[in-house]
């Protein structure tokens, strides 16, 4: 690696990795300015890092011998993508960075948000904490089969949970603020708005920047139907003052299923209303069937092919949901998990010419650059793959591109994902349907089994695991699992899929015994071989089962 050797410093190991990460083996792609840049980067460790606070008033003159702008980067939104991008820009590339974020609130609004963003405050983290809380009731049930008994049935105290959850969220907000502070990023509280391609206004104060990054995320959206004002969204559902006795959840996506599991585990009566015949559109068909069945077995009622039409509140305060098929009443709460939309309203985007699609998502190129050269966007506001780790990847790639002189495209292929339903789902790569569409000839390996834990607990829990292999290359192109620990199990598998490994690589791996995960390396014969061509020939061989 000649580029590394050419670097004039080799002091700390941290810097060695740093350079290793920054300059991988693409010497041919190094732009001309690179050499100059390397020299300036090399100087970084010898001078104090950019810890000087740059206040709005001080900025215009401060340090600006090198720059006509207050900042090299001004980021609007301190969620996953915004924090990652400004931190990397500052610490790795010496950019002068600021980020603005609205005041903290558990429920978001036009002028309320909080450092940490959706993931930390209204998404992944609080959701997972509630999943943990709700999962205990299943564990109590399981424990009976293992010999545990209780004098009284375990009871749940809602307020303890919500209070402890909120304490944890406050702690995390503090951590995020520290991260920014330690990275030398200025944090400005308030609502940011783009004024021109190089100026952001935060509640009236103007800041100029060479680059502007929009990372304002998304928020729940609901259809405009009568009575919608009685409905809660996922923000509110994560912070309810008391336990719902009976709740309707409208929507069949991952948010709907996760909350169904949470409330069911915490002993609410749960009804899920979905427009489609099946939950989780876009997921593998078999997984969709399997999760619905497992959730039903745990006590959740599904109302399929029902569209919400109106909500009414009766005198006793209870809510009714009217759909195209029926009216179901007696709900203490009705939650809509009917999609999320990008937070692009009132950001001044139209005025500066940043293009958006018909759903309001900012249109970006492969490097996350918008239609205005100096304005970039990452995360949910761009509506690519709306996941925290993807926003992190996009934020990191942006920082490299804009400040590291190393144009980097985030790679959206083989991104693993999880649904923290109960049981949970983990997946990476293509669904069977997508694989057939793309490769035609596909071998499908399926294992649907009762895990060891369930044989003792006596509960009807099962596990579904599925490997989808391209028949011509033998590459594993998709892996799906629904069952305990699926998200944890799929992470390692995702490395294998990302690396383009073959079924033989899986087979050559020795199992970890006894686990559920070992099934993925012990699937010896395909459950079905799907062949696009020569259907007649396929049928003549009886071990080959063509789909349908």
């Amino acid at each position: 690696m000649a580029t590394t050797a050419a670097l004039p410093f080799s002091c700390s190991t941290t810097l060695q990795t740093l350079t290793r990460n920054l300059y991988p083996r693409h010497p041919l792609l190094i732009p001309r300015r690179r050499l100059h840049h390397l020299r300036s980067l090399a100087a970084v460790p010898t001078r104090p890092r950019l810890r000087r606070p740059v206040s709005a008033s001080a900025a215009p003159n401060g340090s600006s011998s090198t720059s006509e702008y207050d900042y090299d980067l001004f980021t609007i939104g301190a969620g996953s993508g915004g924090v990652r991008a400004s931190r990397f820009a500052s610490t790795l590339f010496g950019a002068r960075a600021a980020v603005c974020e609205m005041p903290f609130a558990t429920i978001s609004a036009d002028d309320l948000g909080g450092v940490g963003g959706t993931c930390v405050l209204r998404g992944c983290v609080p959701k997972k904490l509630l999943v943990y809380a709700s999962k205990f009731s299943h564990e109590f049930e399981e424990s009976n089969g293992f010999g545990w008994t209780y004098e009284t049935e375990p009871k749940h105290d809602w307020s303890t949970l919500i209070a402890n959850k909120n304490t944890e969220l406050q702690r995390l907000v503090g951590i995020y603020k520290n991260i920014l502070n330690n990275a030398g990023v200025d944090l400005i509280e308030g609502r940011g708005k783009v004024v021109d391609p190089h100026t952001v206004s935060v509640d009236g104060k103007l800041y100029t920047a060479k680059n502007i990054l929009i990372a304002v995320g998304g928020r729940p959206s609901m259809p405009d139907i009568p009575g919608i004002e009685h409905v809660i969204d996922s923000d509110a559902a994560l912070d309810l003052p008391s336990k719902p006795e009976k709740i309707a959840i409208v929507g069949g996506g991952y948010i709907a299923l996760e909350f169904a599991g949470i409330f069911n585990g915490l002993k609410s009566e749960v009804h899920v209303f979905i427009r489609q015949p099946k939950v989780l559109r876009g997921f593998d068909e078999e997984v969709r069937d399997f999760i619905a069945e497992q959730m039903s077995l745990r006590g959740i009622t599904f109302h399929t092919e029902e569209s919400p039409q109106a909500i009414t509140k009766s005198n006793d305060g209870l809510l009714s949901l009217k759909t195209n098929k029926e009216t179901v009443g007696g709900f203490s709460h009705i939650m809509f998990a009917t999609g999320r939309k990008p937070n692009t309203k009132n950001l001044g985007l139209e005025e500066v010419g940043v293009k958006m699609d018909n759903k309001g998502a900012i249109v970006v190129d492969e490097y996350s650059r918008t239609s205005v050269d100096s304005i970039w966007a990452v995360g949910d506001v761009t509506d690519r793959i709306n996941l925290t780790p993807v926003a992190l990847m996009e934020g990191g790639a942006f920082a490299k591109t804009a400040f590291g002189d190393e144009p980097t495209k985030p790679d959206h292929s083989a991104v693993p994902a999880a649904v923290f339903s109960q049981p949970p789902i983990g997946q990476v790569g293509l669904t069977e349907e997508q694989a057939i569409e793309e490769y035609g000839d596909v071998d499908v390996y399926i294992s649907n089994f009762r895990p060891l834990r369930a044989t003792l607990s006596g509960l009807p829990d099962r596990v579904l695991m599925k490997l989808i292999v391209c028949a011509t290359t033998n590459k594993v192109v998709g892996v799906h699992m629904c069952g305990d620990d699926a998200p944890e199990i799929i992470q390692g598998i995702a490395i294998a899929v990302k690396a383009g490994l073959t079924k033989q690589d899986f087979d050559a791996t020795v199992g970890v015994h006894p686990t559920s995960a070992e099934e993925f390396v012990t699937m010896r014969s395909p459950t079905r071989k799907v062949r696009r061509e020569a259907a007649a020939e396929v049928e003549s061989k009886d071990e080959v089962v063509s789909k349908q």
């Binding site: 190991t13 941290t14 060695q16 990795t17 990460n21 991988p24 993931c119 992944c124 983290v125 997972k128 943990y132 809380a133 205990f136 564990e139 399981e142 424990s143 293992f146 010999g147 545990w148 008994t149 209780y150 004098e151 009284t152 375990p154 009871k155 949970l161 402890n164 959850k165 944890e168 925290t388 780790p389 083989a414 693993p416 994902a417 999880a418 983990g426 060891l452 044989t455 003792l456 998200p487 199990i489 992470q491 390692g492 995702a494 490395i495 294998a496 990302k498 690396a499 490994l501 690589d505 791996t509 020795v510 199992g511 970890v512 015994h513 006894p514 686990t515 995960a517 993925f520 390396v521």
Partner: protein, 494 residues
Amino acid sequence: MARKMLKDGEVAVADEGSYDYDLFVIGAGSGGVRGSRTSAGFGAKVAICELPFHPISSEWLGGHGGTCVIRGCVPKKILVYGASFRGEFEDSKQFGWEISGDINYNWKKLLENKTQEIVRLNGVYKRILGNSGVTMIEGAGSIVDAHTVEVTQPDGSKQRHTTKHILIATGSRATRVNIPGKELAITSDEALSLEELPKRAVILGGGYIAVEFASIWRGLGAEVDLFYRKELPLRGFDDEMRTIVASNLEGRGIRLHPGTNLTELSKTADGIKVVTDKGDELIADVVLFATGRAPNSNRLNLEAVGVEVDQVGSIKVDEYSRTSVPNIWAVGDVTNRINLTPVALMEATCFSKTVFGGQPIKPDYKDVPCAVFCIPPLSVVGLSEQEALAEAKNDILVYTSSFNPMKNSISKRQEKSVMKLVVDAETDKVLGAAMSGPDAAEIMQGIAVALKAGATKATFDSTVGIHPSAAEEFVTMRTLTRRVSPASKPKTNL
């Protein structure tokens, strides 16, 4: 079937018909069942002998399924599940759960359900063999000559069977240390089937069996004292991970006694009196020796036919699992290579392919993952930092992540999860991965696939995380913890 055999050549040569069987397998545990089933799949005529079923093994008792199903992996994991609930109850409080009144534990019920599951699996194994066309013979097998096996049935009657090949897959069993009063101690066999749950348990040994039982009994409410000779338990594992496991065991209430041996056991009215080499005494309801296992090679009459064994009694085999007698083969724990169920399965499959499938193939011992089901568990694949340094030509990059699992942020359990990647600085290959923490065993399986295929750290880094999970730490370790040069070595004083 017959057609396939004729194609096979090796099997179908001159002596076809002159033997009762193509393959006679002694021992229907993991390796034996796999070996007979896959050999039958290649068209071989196969018989297998196994001792009558009993949860506690002896010279005359065993059962289809072997150690794994009857006295190892499966019942152990069931008890670990049972024991894990205690931690769940503790954790649930801060999540808002209240269990007023007593939480009771009915050991008999767990035992009953466990036995029921094992009997079921025992039946499953028999059915698998039956469906594969393998002849099952009950009794103790021993070798008369290179082509004859004698099976002594429970009633004492003996039968002789001739066979072209013999596969020895008799496994191993727990051993006891030779100290006064050793007969008062039990081994893992009995520990899995105790009539009463001990209130005070003493465990001797620092291996995986010792720490697993320590976790099981502690989880089920016993006072547990764990004695071992080294400074840390789990010799052979990564030193840093051993330290974590030790501190987690302590954190869960197990009393550790490193560098301590037991010298004498005696019976008292109050229980078993245990004396240590440091002169301490304590009283226990149960004393478990988890001090190692020995291959079951004694009663096979191996000397008579010239099958060589090493000084601990394990059968010597070549890379294809062939013993010093060309038509006698051995797989699994009796060969004392890597004593794990999936390894025995691999060895047996390779044996079948080599002997009956016409495709000689060696089992591959590189990057075999394994798990220790203590609470929380430890799982590893590939090299430990110490092994990597011993083998390395290049510098080693060590990435570690020690974090508070998200669940603990509410439960307030003081227990860190630790993950570790050991990387070759020159090739960027990930040489080893380790984790101590909840779900470690499940997480490690996928990591093992990547490692086995030679994945680099760059591949790990390019994989997007699953958020929020513990496993995502493995793909987000950006900062080097230390760089170690093989020349310098020192590092730890563990």
